[in-house]
Amino acid sequence: MNVLRSLPWTPLASASLEHCSDAALRGFSTILVERRDLADGTTGRFHGLLHSGGRYAVKDPSAARECIAENRILRVTAADCVEDTGGLFVSTPWDDPEYGDQFLEGCRATGVPAEEIPVAEALRREPRVNPGIRRAFLVPDAALDPWKLVWGCARSAEEHGARILPYHRVLDLEVDGERVVGAHVRSERGGEEFRIHATVVINAAGAWAGQIAELAHCTVNVRAGMGLMIAMNHRLVHMCVNRCKRPADGDILLPLRTACVIGTTDVFVPDPDQTEIRQDDIDLLLDEGEKLVPGFRQARALHAWAGVRPLFEDTAKVAETRDVTRSHALLDHSSREGVAGFLTITGGKTTTFRLMAEAAVDAACEQLGGLRPCTTAQVPLAGSESHTLYQISHRLAAREPVPQSEEIICECELITRSGLEDTIKQRDTTSLDDIRRLLRLAMGPCQGGFCIYRAAGILHQGGQVDQAGANQTLLDFLEERWKGVHPILHGDQLRQARLDDWIFQGILDVEHLPV
């Protein structure tokens, strides 16, 4: 069986990984193809909210039910990726307090635990939240670390025999009569092309699912809904704070690892690869942040990024992307277009990625002749075997016994030299940007100002790259980092960026590196 993470890098990165992982767990021989790095797609770019379902309780009850069910499962099976922050829905002065009644009713109807608490209690828990809030509700939202989730799925899949091919592009699907029998793939790094034969191909390419489906002459109408997020330098809130109103732009602020994230916007984009960040959208998020946490505009924004949601439309046209259901869609192309061995799973959201994989692999089982039971609701992901929930202090605690026992290469994210060297070896990568997604290298306030020189030196000293390669990945990293930084550059982050300019240009003189 073959899971395609598709032509493009895929929005539902972990969804597809989970398909891979799920399929591998059920004993199928599985290969996953991803055009870029794992976690470089939509999953790696989502805001990090493990929904309780509260957000959908009024508008999309079936999505809410799915969310709370998956929320409970992931706290066990993906414990290492979940921080039990709790969630808070608040009615700010801009929100109709009566919506709270609908909200409570919706939560009751969908089985999402929700409890109204006194405003004073909410402000005690979250002292920075706008003191003008009029109502507050607790829900079991949590923070979900997308990168850890993706790597956990990948490791689980690999442990069960799956092969994962990042940086491989699907050039074509092989169709034999009325059946997809494999894919024609090219390595984006080495350039070699080869064929993969498969009994079933699962298209989990998210917003790019239409492009993959076309290769098999099938039609999947997926629209790309771009969402913008901004990471702030530290936790302005300790719980996932939502506006208690119908879902809209910039109404979620949640802690994610050492940062906190405000999101999101939602705009149709014609091409999922074209996600230009507009100043208006940045301002919108900052203004909405200011409503939730007064002083937000003076707080330090670290970087901004956009993810592309796959919005599946089967029939009726919808004007607003927010009106598209957030439930997923499983398309069996044998019943739709008479193409067997080919399934598309799309739509959905990260919180329900496991459920989507289960559905897709169940359908694949049927085609492979006989259901093999799904175990992903019980078997923990690699890294989560101890069922210990992630805590923000983990990395600090790990350094605590002897804080200066070894070099800390990335001081913002507390990454040690041995941790870096092990990762470079294990994942056999020479790209600083890949290491960033694996370890969170350079994700902190200085955005690589200090650690990137060190990491490049270590890559080179370890023999992984020659001098030209080390220089190139350093320069590539500066370019890549700038993409996320330049849209929000002001205040303290501009001060940092200018110091980084002095370091890279004034002191190290990277502009004149021999590449």
């Binding site: 100043q279 070099e407 800390i408 000293q461 220089n471 002001h490 002095w502 370091i503 990277v510």
Partner: protein, 427 residues
């Protein structure tokens, strides 16, 4: 106390101005939020390293070219002879560090990435790394010191374009057990100050370096003892040894700051850190007192003259808010180098020309910040260093040169034609 001049900022420009004023008899107060960027930059004096993409061989010859193409450049307000005088004066004041080099030829010193970088002056503990003559080099790393990667330096230098061929290699030493773990440059330097690290280093290098090799070490050879350690090492090894600037913090930069601060104290100036200059009380186009926030609140220091050396965006002398407004943070001075659009949009590629790169204050020839009409904002306010607009010093490699030249020139503008009478304390 009443002071003749209050200098805002304790970086290279501020210390230079303050020292020049103090040694000429002024009573000077330096106020700063903290220590200056001296602690981050290598202690080289970079006057001009690049004109656009072209490497500058002679700053003396190229500065006039720069001025003609960038009339707002800070150097445009420093006459050529004063630039030279300021560097000579700087070398005298920092004799303990033994600055080598001159304005006519840039040295080419290796960076911690192994890029040959032009500098006009360097302390003698660093100047031996001049790559122009070519030859054989060995770069020595210390295990556990993350801010210096000799293998990459050597490999890059072997691929660098240089006037004469060089051959570079790397060597990694394991420091004695007292210096293991997550070592900072400051901590290693402390080891050279207080322990016998020099014995260890000299011993470790003796048999591992050829007689014709020059030895590049990270710039951590001691803080107070830096120059002495370097001399001793050359003597013991009978080879040319030189320090290479590391990632910040910069040990040679701290040495420079210490030398200048100590000279200032000797000259009777007062340095107060951890306070914030927040504005001026002005009358008739003159600043009468500088307002400073300390532990209790705002206090005023009556003054005759003020030097603003608060730095650029990196030091907080300039700020851009989330609505896109740029301001000078102490006196709210008018700025040049702002984008014409109502909103700053940074260019999408890192190495593109970026907006605000040349933002800062514009001055007259006495280095007094001027408004749009070219008139001084205050008769007795002068500016120096990175707060000055019209330059992109990290690209030009002109930061420290600008600081020394404009710090000195601002002091001279205050001292001549005639020092204004000292105002009485008014608090």
């Amino acid at each position: 106390m009443s002071y003749d001049t209050v200098v805002v900022g304790a970086g290279l420009a501020g210390l230079t101005a303050a020292l020049r004023l103090s040694e000429r008899g002024q009573r000077v107060l330096v106020v700063a939020r903290g220590v200056g960027a001296t602690h981050l930059a290598p202690a080289t004096v970079d006057v001009l390293g690049y004109l656009g993409d072209t490497q500058v061989a002679s700053p003396a010859a190229s500065v006039p070219v720069l001025i003609s193409s960038s009339p707002n450049h800070p150097y445009a307000h420093v006459p050529a002879e004063q630039l030279e005088t300021s560097l000579e004066w700087f070398c005298t004041k920092t004799a303990a560090l033994g600055y080598a080099g001159n304005l006519d030829e840039n040295l080419l010193l290796p960076t911690a990435l192994g890029v040959p970088k032009p500098s006009a002056l360097a302390p003698r503990s660093m100047s031996g790394g001049d790559l122009r003559a070519g030859g054989r080099f060995v770069f020595v790393g210390l295990k556990g010191f993350k801010d210096f990667h000799p293998t990459l330096i050597a490999d890059n230098l072997n691929h660098a374009r240089l006037p004469n061929p060089i051959e570079a290699r790397a060597l990694e030493l394991v420091p004695p057990s007292s210096r293991r773990g997550d070592l900072s440059g400051r901590v290693i330097a402390g080891g050279f100050d207080t322990e016998d690290l020099i014995d260890w280093l000299a011993g470790a290098l003796e048999d591992r370096v050829d007689p014709d090799e020059r030895i590049g070490v990270p710039a951590v050879l001691g803080l107070r003892s830096g120059d002495a350690t370097w001399q001793e090492l050359e003597k013991r090894l009978q080879r040319k040894v030189f320090e290479v600037a590391t990632l910040p913090p910069s040990v040679p930069g701290i040495r420079l700051s210490d030398v200048l601060s100590s000279a200032l104290r000797t000259a009777g100036a007062r340095i107060v850190l951890g306070v914030r200059a927040v504005g001026a009380r002005a009358k008739g186009g003159r600043i009468e007192a500088v307002e400073v926030v300390n532990a209790t609140g705002t206090v005023s220091y009556p003054v005759s003259s003020v030097v603003l050396a608060s730095g650029g965006f990196a030091s907080g002398g300039l700020e851009l808010d989330s609505f896109g407004a740029t301001r000078e943070t102490v006196f709210g001075l008018p700025l040049i180098g702002l984008p014409n659009t109502d909103r700053v949009r940074f260019a999408p590629h890192y190495f593109d020309a970026q907006p605000l790169a040349t933002a800062g204050v514009a001055t007259d020839d006495q280095l007094r910040p001027v408004d749009a009409s070219g008139s001084p904002v205050y008769e007795n306010l002068h500016a120096a260093g990175a707060i000055l607009g019209g330059a992109t010093p990290w690209k030009e490699k002109s930061g420290t040169g600008t600081s020394v030249a404009t710090g000195y020139a601002a002091a001279e503008a205050i001292l001549t034609p005639a020092p204004t009478p000292v105002s009485e304390a008014v608090r």
